[in-house]
Symmetry: D2
């Protein structure tokens, strides 16, 4: 049984709380949040106790922390949890600053505590199956990875301003997927972006529509397209073209219903947003973390994975700003 | 909070036990089974207590029973639970004998206890959505309902012998769906069947492949096809052709992955069998039962629904044996 | 080079005329029609000459006749063409009366002339491929053949009155497909039908919505559903469930375009009607006829195929009228 | 009636010859080819006459030339045909050198003869329908155009060496489609490419796998991926993400057949290559040319379209070589 303290009881924290509470090998002991009422609400829902972050980290009963607070607190909480010897599952990104993020990951490594970063898409059943078949050689060597990732609607501009920008906030997931699927580290990054969805996003200095191209040392390519708006739902698709074929994973719908009338054939929009689409992935992510910690194996995606994706996001941002290709590694 | 006694801790009983235990408004109090170790196992898994059927029905704490025992015990257990004033959710079929089943349903009605029959497919997200849109007029008036329902592999002949035959054991689900979707009672039934899958099934006097046609008073038609074998998984599809179009619900797969190679494009088999396909439907069924009992509304599908489907199954069996159309009502 | 006389220059005749004219091994020599202007129009379009039926059959230059006149003239024209020693490709049905149709087929056989019946669906690329793979064992032994065949809109009641009824006019195509795919002769037929689309069809003594079940001697089953109305286009689908799997052929669309908006995902209706859907099939039918005659092989589908489908249609009509299963053979 | 001289009787020339011969408003009068036997063969097939290029251009009977010779002869033939006052339909590319191509287009303009370039994909039924709906506002303003275009297998290295490189030879089609769909001129081009398919292609100084990103002045984006190898057939897909949704056109297959077995569900590879996929598009292209010339309208795609696509291809090649974004216009 792995005893958890949940740090952060917002929307994502609540989702993690429910998954921990329902997990046969995990228990939700303590809940901390800057807003005491939020912590109390989540704690009551799952029979846990409210605690301060300090108390949670000091508790000898707590084996692991799940960090779901605001991004700017991730790095210090990782360091504090590492100092307290707790296993850590931290929501992405580790930090918006690569230096600060690196320090946190190094601290966890130095303390010898397990650290996983919440790149939940790796645990999506379709994407995980695609990856497994790709690794098994189903389509030969990967040559072109194509990722379409589009949110149903843009967040408020107030959020954009503290988000770190589209590449660090949104595309970081896709950059992680690209690394994972390419099977090699990207060494070149090129980005183009525009603000087509909301002029307020442009005013905030960010883009809402972007296309990034990656290239690995051996010449494998990846292309990612992001938009902050997709009228038809949360668009999450992956395709990998390989030497012997192509493998892809499509969106999900709530039902398989199709209606045919004089207007043609109609199906529903795809699942609305990440809470719907990735609900099972969050569960699988927790499961993998619990299993790894229990077995004494390092959990994945690792802190280094978190840093690598952030470096790619930084490179994409730099490419956008300079109009030039950025070389890595 | 609705306190349940689970009667029957076999494969289906375990599934119901987990759903009750996870339900925010339900509690699994007692578990009874003819095999004490099974009851103990399920009780331990969910913090419940083992009890005899008699003790379960006598317990003042128990509000509802979920009957998941062998078919021959359903009717007496319904009657006993009715006498004890418990709400009842009973697995299908109520009984293989229409007279016996009718008596049980009448007993529950006389006692004024809520009784629902486990036609779980009505709670499948795709089928429920299809029905809701059909009722909302998405394709006009229903004219031809087509149901394909095929098991992945035949059960052992020993099971076939006590099953009541394909129509009462397997097609009864599809007959319930046909009634539900037609929106009118069938008044004519015609069946053709063959034993093509397993000669042992023929030797046991049953068929393993069957096609049934139904007709309502206003002339709406339904066709059902059943097979005890489908190499590609548990085939569960519905289509309704109406005056203004057509609506259908397709099978489900575990992932959306598609692989393209020189051999063409390949997707996985459909979900293997009812435990996989209808897991969410069983949860939704329990949810609907709990909500209805809590609200004082009669739960559905009702005992009368159970009897109506059994009458259709009997008619199909009679048509198969006589080669003649059977008129109902 | 096979020289054709076209008998009948209506809608179907014109389609055949264009196919003959475009065929590298065929030539359209003569065109006959009860309406001289129609014949003249078609002849002018393809560089052919107008002739009377008598003159066409008497012409030594003519090798083959394509009969596309009204149904009641098919049988006498087959007999006359047989007497004149011409190869015959005749539109379906041979005749609405099985006795009259049989006489015509016997006459062609006695004269030793090649006779093919225009069951064009056998030449549809998807259906032909399905049949070829079925014969190659792709899904094992056929067990349940399911055919959905629905017209976009009902014909005028005036046509219904002379059509011979839904089974002989419309379902005869599907009955031929069922025979072809089952690989065995049906020995039992059961039909249910209703007039749900147009009360005028009921008043004319016909049905517009029908479901037929067939059974072969070894127990293979087929189910056919017909409607005279399908809002979403000409619905033409086939599915064959076999001992090792399932094979199916879906409808066709003019394009692969899919549009996704906030309302969901939309595709166009399927191809509108038989002229669109089966245009390539009519060409392939002519090609097969020309090749067979040139090679001295009997063309298919044969006159006997025409008679067998008509016998099934008669049996379905009889079953509809009596409410009883009809046994054949 | 538009009288054609066909210049070039190779693989593509033969396809055009058949389309001209079958066109109701066109006639194939003369055929010229550097290999006399080829010209004679094609001429015989369609009742045309062999002629030299000079004779063809000098013939007063000839209204239009279809240029399907090797690329290096396109520009001089356009100029000669323009001087002779003939309408011109020229296969793409106009020339591998933008200066030479521009001179040819200017010559045609100066002579006032109609000139169309063979970007046949614009006439594909699915792509044309997608474009029409996009223009009609089906998904709002275009924001991200994604084009996947992959050949089934690489051409011989000998061809690669004279091809002008992947961007001018293969991607030029996709660059034309991107311009067409974006509805604005691209002003920035960035390319990444690799030789992953055939080391001989690398040795010849070319790439066989490439990804290009385009950006228009208002910020619309396009991404194109090309590969010289696709095990599953000729992969030709387009997707356009707009402010109100997404529209896409998928690949085509020869049949709609799907086979389900214990291994899962299988469909055939997509149509093999451009002759299969775009056969109807070549016919529609000719039809549009004939209609435009007959009506005195300028045919499309215009010579300027040909130049614009070539400029994009040159920019992509330059980007590949320099690693830097190229600005246009």
């Amino acid at each position: 049984m792995l005893n958890f303290a949940l740090l952060g009881a917002g929307r994502i924290g609540r989702l993690h709380a429910a998954n921990i509470a329902a997990h046969p090998k995990a228990r939700l002991l303590l809940v901390a949040d800057a807003v005491p009422a939020s912590a109390a609400d989540v704690a009551a829902m799952h029979g846990a106790t409210v605690a301060s972050v300090e108390a949670a980290l000091a508790s000898a009963e707590v084996d692991a922390v799940l960090i779901a607070t605001s991004t700017d607190t991730h790095a210090p909480l990782i360091e504090a949890a590492a100092a307290a010897g707790k296993a850590i599952l931290c929501e992405k990104p580790i930090d918006l600053d690569i230096g600060r993020a690196t320090a946190a990951v190094r601290a966890a490594a130095a303390a010898g505590v397990p650290l996983a970063v919440g790149f939940n898409r790796r645990f999506d059943a379709s994407f995980a199956s695609l990856k497994a078949r790709l690794d098994a050689g189903a389509v030969g060597t990967p040559e072109i990875v194509s990722i379409a990732s589009r949110d149903p609607a843009p967040p408020p501009v107030s959020y954009i301003k503290v988000s770190g920008g589209l590449f660090r906030d949104m595309m970081i997931h896709d950059l992680d997927m690209a690394r994972w699927l390419l099977g090699e580290e990207p060494v070149e990054v090129y980005a183009m972006g525009s603000a087509l969805v909301d002029p307020g996003i442009a005013a905030a200095g960010d883009v809402d529509t972007a296309v990034v191209t990656l290239r690995t040392a051996s010449g494998r390519l990846a292309q990612i397209s992001n938009s902050r708006r997709a009228a038809y739902g949360y668009d999450q698709r992956i395709e990998c073209h390989g030497s012997m074929g192509m493998i892809r994973a499509d969106n999900l719908r709530a039902t398989t219903v199709e209606v045919a009338t004089a207007d043609g054939f109609a199906r529903d929009p795809v699942l609305h947003f990440f809470l719907e689409r990735y609900a099972p992935a969050y569960r699988a992510e927790l499961d993998a973390f619990v299993e790894a910690v229990a077995a004494g194996r390092p959990p994945a995606p690792t802190g280094e994975d978190g840093l690598a994706a952030l470096r790619l996001a930084d490179a994409a941002q730099q490419s956008l700003e300079t109009g030039a290709r950025v070389r890595l590694g």
